[in-house]
């Protein structure tokens, strides 16, 4: 699940990566982004967010760019972007399969 074998990402993982697509972001802004983007459908608990930031850093999917007071800012790495794209492709394939099935 989004680990080194890189299976499908869970929804919180997917949306946290998505949060970094357009801009660098600090941890506290991510929860608000996910809340807004999913209209509250995906809940991102603080423990989950903290663990994901740590996990993504360990896996070089994101990197820290700035520390200002209590805020740390991160950006997506090329590896992180590739992982996100890979997941998007997977989801597109799923959707395609589902649509094909519905048309039959």
């Amino acid at each position: 699940m989004g680990g080194k074998g890189r299976g499908p990402l869970t929804e919180p993982m997917f949306y946290v990566l998505m949060a970094f697509l357009r801009q660098e972001m600090c941890g506290t802004d991510i929860a608000a982004f996910v809340e807004q983007k999913t209209r509250g459908r995906v809940k991102l608990g603080p423990g989950t967010l903290y663990t994901l930031l740590s996990k993504f850093q360990d896996e070089n999917l994101i990197e820290e760019t700035e520390v200002e007071g209590r805020k740390r800012t991160y950006r997506l790495t090329s590896k992180g972007r590739a992982a996100y794209q890979e997941e998007v492709e997977r989801l597109r394939a799923c959707l395609r399969d589902a649509q094909e099935e519905e048309l039959l």
Binding site: T10, M13, G27, T28, A32, L44, G47, T48, Y50, R70
Partner: protein, 400 residues
């Protein structure tokens, strides 16, 4: 004024559900988690509404993480502190609040934490070996068990055996508590993955507390050894110790060698090694003489933590014949002494069976004196009557 309350933590170090529930129940009693000290948890008494407690496993170095606190505060959680370098403690007034909303991510966090604690377990094992290795000479495999049977006080007060036994038992409890903690963590992780009861196991914390209680004196003892606080010699002058001059007269010539006529009293001891004093003094001897050809006095004193131990030690000493000391006679207690054993040593000729050479040993005597919890062993070689100096030895013990 902050009112601090201290409790022994009843749950194991990694028992997340048990600790969360316990800290929650303490907060319901108005006790807010503040910090941990070994097996103890400190609380501050304050008025609070019921709270939900969450323990976030620390993934890296156990420092306060401002970013993490900010993330939690954004979600309505309040940071309370660090629990035993293992968890960040957060509290929320929302009893339904969820800190972890993704089981896969929680599993990752628990797995990483578990692996981290496994490595720390290896370090704990190394600490086991280092401390036990330091006191290995006192292990049951190294001490003379027959000697232990007949002279238990002497054997056990060698400064190594008691620390070794305390350390071995302390580490056994500590390691057991650690292993149970890892087991509970594994069980919790499985329950989070597949569902199932997550209760927490009270009692494991008591193993840790008992382990610390046993290890604490050993650690203090070790610090004393390494800081050289175990050896505190002081000047002979003004010490009140009986010297050869007191016994042989002012004209008696003492050895000029510091080894045979030191100017200080050897003195030391640690928390687990009874306080001791030792001193020896030899007369001057020529190049064709040995130190045993001239009058000399050797003193050894031990102060035990209990009077009963001192009494036993005096009795043990009185059963040991030293250089033809012969039988000990128990004299009537006087001069404030509780036990007086005396053995007179006759002049002795020793003949070497191979070379046929003979050697004459000086006469003398041995005193074993006890005053309360202090025992003195005085071995004198010379022509003076040791019993005539009993008052001096008694005064010396009284002034120690």
């Amino acid at each position: 004024m902050i009112h601090t309350v201290i409790r022994i933590t009843p749950f194991g170090s990694f028992d997340i559900p048990g600790l969360e529930r316990w800290l929650g129940s303490m907060s319901a009693k108005g006790l807010r988690f503040s910090m941990t000290i070994g097996p103890l948890t400190c609380f501050e008494r304050t008025d609070m509404d019921p709270l939900q407690i969450h323990l976030e496993p620390i993934q890296g170095s156990p420092d306060e993480d401002p970013e993490l606190n900010a993330i939690y505060e954004e979600s309505g959680w309040q940071y309370w502190g660090i629990f035993r370098n293992n968890f960040y403690v957060y509290a929320s007034p929302d009893l339904e609040a969820q800190a972890h909303t993704d089981p896969a991510t929680l599993d990752y966090a628990l797995n990483k934490f578990f692996r981290h604690k496994l490595v720390e377990g290896v370090l704990l094992l190394v600490a086991n070996l280092l401390l036990l290795g330091l006191y290995w000479q006192g292990s049951p495999w190294e001490i003379d068990l027959l000697w232990l049977r007949y002279y238990p006080v002497e054997t056990l007060s060698n400064g190594k055996t008691i620390p070794f036994l305390l350390a071995a038992l302390g580490f056994l409890l500590l390691d057991l508590s650690y292993l149970l903690g890892l087991f509970h963590l594994m069980h919790y992780r499985r329950a989070m993955q597949h569902g199932g009861p997550v209760g927490g196991q009270p009692g494991v914390g008591w193993l840790l507390a008992a382990g610390w209680l046993l290890l604490l004196p050993v650690l203090i003892n070790t610090v004393q050894l390494f800081s050289r606080a175990d050896y505190r010699p002081y000047d002979l002058e003004g010490s009140g110790f009986v010297t050869l001059t007191d016994m042989e007269g002012d004209d008696f010539r003492l050895s000029g060698t510091p080894m045979y006529n030191p100017d200080h009293i050897s003195h030391g001891g640690t928390l687990l090694d009874p306080e001791y004093w030792s001193f020896r003094q030899y007369g001057s001897f020529g190049p064709d003489q040995s130190p045993y050809d001239v009058p000399h006095l050797e003193l050894s004193i031990v102060r035990y933590p209990l009077e009963e131990l001192a009494q036993l030690r005096a009795e043990e000493w009185s059963r040991q014949e030293i250089n033809g000391s012969g039988e000990y006679e128990k004299l009537t207690a006087e001069y404030g002494l509780d036990d007086i054993y005396y053995a007179q040593r006759e002049k002795r000729i020793h003949t070497n069976e191979i070379t046929g050479e003979f050697h004459a040993f000086l006469p003398g005597g041995i005193f074993i004196l006890r005053r309360e919890n202090t025992v003195l062993f005085a071995d004198y070689y010379g022509h003076q009557d040791l019993t005539g100096h009993l008052d001096k030895f008694a005064a010396m013990l009284e002034n120690l």
